[in-house]
Symmetry: C2
Subunit: 84 residues, 2 copies
């Protein structure tokens, strides 16, 4: 056991926001012959190794990072998971 906690942030465009990258991926998959592709959405993962042992504190600290820097909450939803 050490004092490092790994937190993972998932950033996804809100459903009502157009995702052109996703559309490009869907088109490219179809061009390669993949069928049955309905909708593709692309998002981001940010993994942080945090000096913290308390998962409740880590969660609230990470949400604070999302609100202040990592997520554009106008167009993105975020979720945080703690893997300790």
């Amino acid at each position: 056991m050490d004092n490092i906690m790994k937190v993972t942030i998932y950033l996804k465009l809100k459903l009502e926001v157009l995702d052109p990258q996703g559309k490009v991926i869907a088109r490219a998959l179809s061009d390669l012959g993949f069928v049955g592709i309905n909708e593709v959405r692309q998002g981001k993962i940010i993994e942080i190794d945090l000096d913290e042992t308390d998962s409740v504190k880590a969660l609230s600290y990470t949400k604070n990072m999302c609100e202040r820097l990592l997520a554009n909450t106008i167009i993105e939803n975020y979720s945080v998971s703690i893997d300790d």
Copy 2:
């Protein structure tokens, strides 16, 4: 129930590959006053709504998409999860 299966692909840079975007995020978090940030790595999520009802087939189909288009397996690892 419908015939759409949602698959999620997680793309992460291999550990031995330098992640400059992660370093920029780590620096920016420190500049904002967040402490205890050790390492930050950024990855991608791709969500696909697939016409498929069999999760085993969906998994193998999606891995094929990763190998042929979505993942750069020289520098990235990928994992696939099925949420049906």
